[in-house]
Subunit: 445 residues, 2 copies
Amino acid sequence: MVKIKPISGFPELLPAEQIAFNTALGVVKKHFENAGFVPMDTPAIERVETLMAKGGADHEIYGIHRLKAEEGEGGKDMALRFDLTVPLARFVSQNFGQLAFPFRRYQIAPVWRGERPQAGRYRQFYQCDIDVIGDGALALAHDAEMVAIIANVLKDLKVGGFVVRLNNRKILEGFLKNVGLANMEDIQEALRIVDRIEKVPAETTQKNLKELGLGAEGVMAILDFFNTSYTTNEALLALKDMKVNALFAEGVEELENVVQALRALGVAEENFKVDVSIARGLGYYTGSIYETSLTNYPELGSICSGGRYENLAGNFTTKKLPGVGISIGLSRFLIPLLEKGKWPLGKATPADVIVTVQDQKALPTYLEITQSLREMNIKTEVYLEPKKLEKQMKYANKKGFPLAVIASLEELNRGKVIVRDLATGDQQTVSQKELPDAVLSLLKR
Amino acid sequence: MVKIKPISGFPELLPAEQIAFNTALGVVKKHFENAGFVPMDTPAIERVETLMAKGGADHEIYGIHRLKAEEGEGGKDMALRFDLTVPLARFVSQNFGQLAFPFRRYQIAPVWRGERPQAGRYRQFYQCDIDVIGDGALALAHDAEMVAIIANVLKDLKVGGFVVRLNNRKILEGFLKNVGLANMEDIQEALRIVDRIEKVPAETTQKNLKELGLGAEGVMAILDFFNTSYTTNEALLALKDMKVNALFAEGVEELENVVQALRALGVAEENFKVDVSIARGLGYYTGSIYETSLTNYPELGSICSGGRYENLAGNFTTKKLPGVGISIGLSRFLIPLLEKGKWPLGKATPADVIVTVQDQKALPTYLEITQSLREMNIKTEVYLEPKKLEKQMKYANKKGFPLAVIASLEELNRGKVIVRDLATGDQQTVSQKELPDAVLSLLKR
């Protein structure tokens, strides 16, 4: 016998949790499709050279190999995807002529990373991505639409307050160039330092910034800039007032236009915020950047991030494909909430009705009743084991069915059944024929 | 630049095909949940020893390894699942105390097999499995329920005629023992020979059967038994008339009860058939067995198979866990139909409405209109690129939107918009406020 040992980093859910997780996945999918994104389902496996095209050194990629590889078989040229963006770049390059642009796609799927197991890190986890890809150009309003869609998702997930923080990489780059950082490496290092402002003593931040070759004035300018807390309107006013350089001004204008479009899309003021301190993978993004935090669970960090990029697939095609995308890390925030009991669990079955079987002699009648309910799309389980009614009700309560159908042989002979509300104990006797309607009206309440 | 080469055996769909495929997945899921199966989503990756517990030598398993494995790191003890049954066995054994029995689960997910690429064989493909697992015992009526659910799925998929063929392994084993085959190996070999009856000359079949040590009488008995074509009722009558042995009689009684329950569950006579010639992995199944063929596409073989097994997880637990399950090989039949254009493709977008943008100055108004539709759960895309209306309509037609919203600045200023039916060209002018209702009523038609 093989002893079962769970593999760490590969979370797995019990039925009630899985149903809750799937409900959340359904909400995400609904809003992605509501906004006209087309589904994509690339294979889990890509060529290693595709995954490594951008370097890929940062990602702990899982290669695959056939356990029973035969002599001379090369193999080892395939691996599991570590994100959904590289497959998107490969797909769009490969199928360019067959797609309509702007190309809007969503993909909700697991990705794999060979990380060392640690709290909050998974080796398989779901990402829920939307991206819009332009052929040569892509309008800025898409950057706002991303945020509006995410706001619709998070409102509908009923996960409490949330804030999508907005920034623009041109503002960051323009500002840091202006204080005297000449190359991208120093700019990125400065942003890493600034990212830790709240976690380290002020002197450490200053010392680190000075080591980049900045004078006292430059250091102060950076600290001032990143340490200020504004409302969105204040921030935009302040940014517009600053005379920095053309790149900075361009970023501010884009940010202002995104905010205006966000408001037109009905995103509530409490759900977004201009925040010049977010930096988000500066190397990849070239315009708008997003991070999202849950008000009640700040410890989860950013649960949804993304931004604008100048060229999606420069490694695969000569076409210029600018895009903007955002990704919800559903496993990363929902599984911890499920584990801590902070996410409401419903019943441990998708079904609403259990048909109990009191007398095996009348089994065909119980089955007919079951099928009559299923035909009306009433989710129905039938308890087929020859057990006492008491045992059947125990099972029904364990799984949390709202309604039970109960009938003795005598009742069936009169064409009658009982529907019982398992929460209240209320019950009514109806004819077999009326049962589906009776159940539907009970479920509506 | 990395040259993109598709990997054979890993099918990937374009938007319209993917939407069609997802619609089919949704139908399967709907009926699985309609029958009260709980969703399960085990990780793609299992321990190699779990996957190999039953021998596993038949399966071309893909192991995984970290590309950047560090010194001394064991690794290589994990692999991709090749089916959904082994993960089920592992899951039920691992979580036994937390599950309610009979445990009904569905899993719709890809599996991976390192097969050599060939037509009709995939290395990643979707399986859609339902299984019911009993704790110690499991009522026979479940065997009929499986078939009823599959019939509901296939009717709803509108894939034309289909027949679920039913048999019982006890009938096969009882019969073959009776004609003189003593051990399981010979019985399995006889079934393999019989499986090819229609493909090889009669003499070859006879010769092969004789080589198992059977006399002329035994050979004739087998050929008679497996070659006869009966209706379900005729078959049951004929089987009941045969005096073979106790095992055979037990199988016949089970088969008869399953047929009776099927009828009670409303499965149409044309959708199932007792067929004693189906054998289906005799080594694994111990009672009912199923195979399913599509009347219009017999060349696809069995698209949905399964059966009853005596013990799910003997390799992982001392608990006796009898079960019955059935699996739809959705990729295996739907992808070929999509490739051959034999499956109706709808639009290449999930959205029903495209909001065109004629004047970028009024962008906020177009965005408000878009959001007002999305709020009513009307799937809506907004065309944000600054292109001529003609170009926007070309895009809309390419993707197949049913409706377009069109408005000039002048119309917007009067609070009006036009809704156009893109199939007929009919259009009407409505107020911005009335738009969602107007769209809903147009979509209903």
